[in-house]
Amino acid sequence: MEIENLDRIVREHPFFAGLDEAFVRLVCGCASNVRFEPGQYLCREGGSTDRFFLIRHGRVALQYAAPGRGEMTFQTVGEGEIVGVSWLIPPYHWTHDAKATSQVRAIAMDARCLRDKCEADHHLGYELMKRFVPVLVARLQATRLQILDVYGTPA
């Protein structure tokens, strides 16, 4: 029942929309349900990216902390989005903090488990890449706009 439920949740998450049933079953073998209370960290900068998260509900702030400046949020992530892309690239370390700013329900994906399955089945790996690359491109474009400081500069 638990697995059936997780299977449905994973299939219905926008990130895995349209994923082949066989792949959904493979992915579900690496998935677990998690919950975070406001103020709890999903991950900390420098830590090992042993998991990434598909957000089902709530909001997560991606942050850096700096002496004298406290926490600086550079992006927030919400329902239907993902937290964590560093699990794809060695040395598999988080490059930022991720803190729940409200109660967060998510699916945690075991990164090592998924990497191993992607190595074993490149079709699965390609399907996941097709889902991660648009996220990376969208975040890159958003970052470009932030760097340009378009609101702060007269047209």
Partner: protein, 290 residues
């Protein structure tokens, strides 16, 4: 290409009936600081009908002895007793306008231009996307949507600012968010730990918004780079090109379509805009030579 009928608001003639190139003298009724470099002035209309304008139109304001600048009207079109302009201090003229106090005199020409297509949007969901101080030209449209709420479908405002301190009309937005018949989402580019809202550029709000693309009209006002990326995001969400309307910004001088300073392809932004259907400007919007 000619715009479809009713796609843009008609341009009311300047109210004086006199030469549109000659400023009237007007008095500042109130002045309020909005954010660090943005202020709002309320100008006394000159006589009955002097405060009539359409959402999206602009006036030419003169700081005597310094110069003249185009400034969008940012008040309520339903209240012709007040001519409200929100101004960012970015140059000599706007700085001079910012130094004027209550009772100060300025030159006033207008209103000019074509505004937001409020009539064409009737019966449809309306998404307003604004960035930075460009929320000001969209505020009159929001006032109209809320004043005639039953004529429109879902109303959504997506607003991006640089930081929490740069959010324009903050108290008003907070108050509007308490209404049940309008969705307002605000995001900032950078924030500290005291901010619990969205962080990221305004385009990131679009996939998160509940947009029914086949029945949505979108009004975009912001820096041109933001506008282009917002168009991309709306198109990805399925909104049709002819349902997207954008406000263009170019150097305007005469404001009456004579001088050509604001020429944009075959149009003058001052006379044929500043609001254009995206489908009309699409072929040249990405040309940096224009």
């Amino acid at each position: 290409m000619a715009p479809p009928p009713d796609a843009v608001a008609p341009a009311p003639a300047p109210v004086t009936g006199a030469d549109p190139l000659i400023p009237r003298v007007a008095r500042i009724r109130t002045r309020r600081r909005e954010t660090g470099d943005v202020f709002t002035i309320d100008i006394e209309p000159d006589g009955p009908g002097g405060g009539v304008f359409a959402a999206g139109q602009f006036n030419m304001l003169t700081a005597f002895g310094v110069g003249e600048v185009p400034i969008s009207l940012s008040g309520d079109p339903g209240d012709p007793s007040r001519l409200i302009h929100t101004i960012r201090d970015v140059g000599a003229v706007t700085a001079a306008l910012g130094r004027l106090k209550k009772g100060g005199l300025i030159g006033l020409r207008g209103p000019f231009g074509r505004g937001w297509p409020m009539e064409a949007a009737a019966g449809r969901d309306v998404v307003l996307v604004a960035g930075g101080v460009a929320l000001a030209p969209l505020r009159p449209a929001l006032y109209r949507l809320l004043a005639e709420r039953e004529r429109y479908g879902n109303v959504t405002l997506l607003y991006g600012a640089r930081s929490p301190d740069d959010i324009l009309y903050r108290r008003e937005l907070e108050k509007l968010r308490r209404r049940f018949d309008v969705d307002i989402e605000v995001t900032v580019d950078h924030a500290g730990s005291a901010w619990h809202g969205h962080v990221g550029v305004v385009t990131t709000l679009i996939p998160r918004a509940a947009i029914e693309p086949s029945n949505t009209v979108a009004f975009i006002c912001g820096p041109e780079v933001m506008t282009r990326f917002t168009i991309m995001a709306l198109r990805e969400a399925g909104v049709a090109d002819d349902a997207i309307h954008i406000a263009m910004e170019r150097n305007m001088k005469c404001a009456a379509g004579f001088c050509g300073r604001c020429q944009f392809g075959g149009d003058f932004v001052c006379r044929d805009g500043p609001v254009f259907p995206y489908a009309r400007v699409r072929p040249i919007l990405h040309l940096k030579e224009i």
